[in-house]
């Protein structure tokens, strides 16, 4: 649900990075935080365990600037990837406008990717979200590693909506901004159509 404040001339969109544990969701957000002009971003808030695993969410507000007289912001969130944190994931998904599903490309992470993908759709359906109303993007992360799935195989497994696919290495930043731009454009396109 985009929040539009006509009096303040503001629009806020919520984008959630989703995926299994250690797939690179927080790494994406941290890279964006490091590389974005400080005037265009707010504070990076992380609610993490002592082992630096996401406990609740990471949050990073980004400002696109003023578009057609409306100050436009994107609020980026991650969810905790570990399977037992599903209650927290549902909460973070509330009011979402766009989702980046971050897939770990390693063959050894197949089960975790599929579980997380199914869990995403379960949770969206549980909130009566129409997938067609959301901006959705599949980021295939860790493309620099060996023993990884082909793009075609991962697309077959994790992209039943035919959403845009971006190859990435979040640690070095490859594909991180391309992913962000893609989902932001989708979110705006969807909200202008809804």
């Amino acid at each position: 649900m985009a929040l539009i404040n006509l009096a303040a001339r503001e629009i806020n969109y919520k984008i959630v990075y989703y995926g299994c544990g250690l797939c690179g969701k927080t790494t994406n957000i941290q890279y964006i935080h490091r590389r974005v002009n400080p005037s265009a971003r707010g504070r990076l808030v992380s609610i993490a365990t002592e082992e630096e695993r996401t406990l609740y969410f990471d949050f990073l507000p980004l400002s696109l600037g003023t578009v057609k007289g409306l100050r436009t912001r994107f609020h980026l969130y991650t969810v905790p990837g570990q399977s037992f944190y599903n209650a927290s994931r549902k909460l973070v998904l509330q009011g979402v406008d766009g989702v980046v599903f971050v897939a770990d490309s390693q063959i050894s992470r197949l089960d975790e990717n599929v579980d997380s993908y199914l869990n995403l759709w379960d949770n969206l359906m549980g909130q009566n979200e129409e997938p067609g109303n959301l901006g959705i993007c599949l980021q295939m992360n860790k493309r620099d590693l060996s023993s990884i799935f082909s793009v075609a195989d991962l697309t077959e497994l994790l992209n039943h909506t035919g959403s845009p696919v971006i190859e990435a290495c979040a640690l070095t930043g490859v594909g991180v901004f391309e992913t962000l731009k893609t989902v932001c454009k989708q979110v705006i396109a969807k909200s202008s159509r809804n």
Partner: protein, 167 residues
């Protein structure tokens, strides 16, 4: 396909909302009041030039409130509609206005909690119908605000957003 409805607040509604917050802040002796969405986005604050990081505050307060509601469910309680944090210097009070809106305010130890609870409850009676109108009225449909022109200009702005990044 079902249409998604955003929350669209017009000038008149915002004036009424700001008026309520301003009065609430005064009668409660509050340092700071804010209305935020349950999805973690700030709507308005009083005073408007407050020095707090309202974006982080909204995200954290909404997250905290959402977790509190889930706690209620786990404990078979119908709902916890209030969240209160007591600090050494100030306290934080969060209440639900509608399904989509939360009211939060901070106050010091020179103000009694009962006073805050009383006046926030009265403020909710005024705020609730305003937000219900914003959610349900034809103005709640965002298509007249986010049109094709906005979409096109935003797309260009996004393309120019991070020109110096190493993709």
């Amino acid at each position: 396909m079902a249409r998604r409805r955003g929350l669209v607040i017009n000038d008149e509604q915002m004036q009424m909302i700001d008026g309520v917050l301003s009065k609430l802040q005064r009668v409660c002796g509050s340092h700071f009041c804010a209305l935020i969405s349950t999805s973690g986005q700030p709507i308005t604050t009083c005073p408007s030039d407050v020095d707090a990081d309202t974006l982080s505050l909204a995200a954290l307060a909404a997250g905290s409130f959402a977790a509190t509601r889930q706690l209620a469910e786990v404990l078979n309680e119908r709902e916890f509609t209030l969240l209160f944090h007591e600090g050494k210097e100030s306290n934080l009070h969060v209440m639900q206005v509608t399904e989509q809106i939360l009211l939060l305010l901070t106050f010091g130890h020179d103000t009694q909690v009962g006073r805050v609870r009383l006046y926030t409850s009265r403020a909710l009676e005024v705020l609730k119908p305003i937000f219900e109108d914003a959610e349900e009225s034809p103005g709640g449909d965002s298509s007249h605000v986010i049109d094709r022109e906005y979409s096109r200009e935003a797309g260009t702005a996004i393309d120019d957003w991070f020109p110096a990044q190493n993709e």
